[in-house]
Symmetry: C2
Subunit: 361 residues, 2 copies
DNA sequence: AGGCAGGATGATATCGATAACAATCTGAAG
DNA sequence: CTTCAGATTGTTATCGATATCATCCTGCCT
């Protein structure tokens, strides 16, 4: 019986304990310390609840003194609100998507909601697994990238009964809400802008696999528009597995120019591959845009800084995140009522820069 | 009274319900459906537990048929294991840190652990808030970037009784475990490498505020080494608030060259600012490295692709994440016992590239 | 003086899983 | 035939907070 205090003293002098005696603190103990009930402590942690200012102050002092930290997992069980939002992006290493993630996080600030972030690596199977993993935490809403999901994923989402926001494109069969834009039309706009500058022989770099649906849409937008403008069949080549890296962009432009040496302008599935293509051209002594014009997609930071600066489509990545989160919050508040599944179109615009300047020719 | 069933029917034909009747499914109901106890269902979800293969199969079929999804928040309450790992990085838009985040995520795969990711925006105050928010979810371990934390943050971490891993630098007073390297020595190595190539007049771009401690350490490593080599006082300038962007890198190099026109080589706090500096120089008609040599830090993808390719320090960002997570897992398994607070040094190396080539001069 | 609204606080049941222990069953050993 | 180890399954209490309803008190109105 007397062993315990001795042990305590002993350990307190050494390394801090781990899970031995630390963090055992519960709300009830704080309550006892203050001389109120646990319920009152619970109320003190929320701003809306009715606790006298004086009591709240005493409680918070005790919380501070004892070092108590609220346990949300216990709370969410009884309140039936997990306080989680899930979001899945293809990759967090792609700054377009990390901008979106940041938009989501920022929109969630001060809502008390915690973001559960996952990355699918552009795979629908991985997405399915992640969706299940996320749903096990009972998120109150979920944000996805793109509109292609496995059947099981769709079923799980349906059954979960929480609002879903799909982003970054316009799915053919939206699950619920959508915040995005037509990648096909955006690419089309870029083709037309360059055609109106006098470009005629268009090349394209970017895959077509089901993995990157946005990439495929951009590609088909390119092909369709080149056709519509009567500029012959577009010269499109794929290279590697999406997402295409900078390096692959460089390799791809070489292949493309070998095959169609008279190509005037090359559009790329993203700024990253465009950057790689430009750098490779320069390395080989070609001038951009004098010898070959190159454009990207996404308006990454790199594109405005690069020399030559890169013509691209600016997408409001951050805004997509913010709006998706805002929409989710709306839907969550509305509960099951109304809030029809709307499609929010986000803007995009052509940004003409040095890499496709026509004058220099 | 009769309005309700009508409404129900009505809704079931339209949009799916949200939280009305969905997701009410509990383990007990699955159990009843199969004809076993809830405990058996619970066991069936874990591989180790003893459930006959036949029963498990029947249960899993029922789970599938009913669309049941495990509720981990309930489980973690009774098992006292949240299944969470928390990680805080300065920014997720910086590919160095997102690489680390990916390393952590990958290391966590198949452990059943879920990553809670937060970004501090290089602010210790924001970090403190995030730590509290994370601790409310009772993570089983936490990974931090850097070693400067507020007092309250340190106290909370201490009290939490969970393993902590600090990364990306070597703190003076480590909390617990460390996975990182000396930013000062790494920068020093780069200075010496360039000095041995014959460079004498060194410039530096990068801030010194407490916000970015790694940046400050690199700067002081630079200044110290230049001094040690007898190469006069280093020409260091700050620019903007860390983290320095590509654009600021460009502005900074202009200021630096205005002030010290005969500078031979400019070292930058990161590849991003180095890239901005190089592009700005080229835009102004300067040749890199012939007129001015420039080096970065971090070996971002951009640096090997860029023309000229950028001399830098390669850091194993991904490995830092993996190792930090591995260390955390070790410490978690060990519980409170042993597992001294070790420091794991991660490697770095100078990568000489075109941007500091000497021959061309 | 009585009554009552409304603020502050407390008591108790509960959220949905799991820990811990009990019970049952099977087959093999004695 | 009995016994017992080991495999399988069930029962009950519990994790730590919150929903809900009950209680108490104060002050104001009639």
């Amino acid at each position: 019986m007397k062993a315990e205090p001795v042990k305590d003293e002993d350990e307190s002098k050494g390394r801090r304990l781990k899970g031995v005696d630390a963090q055992k603190l519960t709300m009830a103990e704080v309550a006892k310390y203050v001389g109120v009930s646990a319920m009152t402590v619970s109320r003190a942690f929320r701003q809306d609840a009715s606790v006298s200012e004086e009591t709240r102050k005493r409680i918070m002092e005790a919380v501070d003194a004892l070092g108590y930290v609220l346990d949300l997992s216990a709370g969410s069980l009884s309140s039936r609100r997990s306080g989680f939002i899930a979001a899945l992006v293809p990759s967090i290493n792609n700054s377009n998507f990390s901008d979106t993630a940041r938009g989501i996080t920022d929109a969630l600030e001060n809502t008390g909601l915690q973001l559960l972030l996952g990355y699918t690596d552009y795979s629908a199977e991985k997405e399915e697994k992640l969706i299940e993993a996320m749903l096990r935490r009972r998120p109150e809403g979920i944000i996805l990238t793109g509109g292609s999901h496995t059947d099981r994923a769709r079923r799980m989402l349906d059954k979960a009964g929480i609002p879903v926001v799909e982003t970054w494109e316009i799915p053919e069969e939206p699950i619920n809400h959508v915040v995005g834009f037509s990648n096909s039309e955006a690419m089309s706009l870029l083709v037309r802008a360059l055609a109106s500058q006098g470009y005629r022989r268009f090349g394209y770099i970017g895959g077509t696999t089901a993995r990157d649906t946005r990439g495929s849409q951009r590609r088909s937008g390119f092909l369709k528009t080149v056709e519509e403008l009567g500029l012959g069949p577009g010269r499109a080549i794929s290279f590697g597995v999406p997402p295409i890296t900078m390096e692959q962009g460089g390799q791809a432009v070489v292949s493309l120019l070998e095959r169609w040496p008279d190509t005037e302008v090359v559009l790329c599935v993203s700024d990253l591959s465009a950057f790689g293509a430009i750098m490779e051209c320069k390395r080989r002594g070609m001038r951009v845009p004098e010898d070959i014009a190159i454009a990207g997609f996404g308006d990454y930071e790199i594109s405005s800084i690069c020399h030559p600066s890169i013509t691209t489509i600016n997408v409001d990545c951050y805004g997509i995140g913010r709006q998706a989160a805002a929409k989710l919050l709306d839907a969550m508040q509305a509960g099951g009522e109304a809030t029809g599944d709307e499609i929010t179109l986000t803007g995009y615009r052509v940004v003409l820069r040095e890499s496709t300047e026509r004058g220099a020719r």
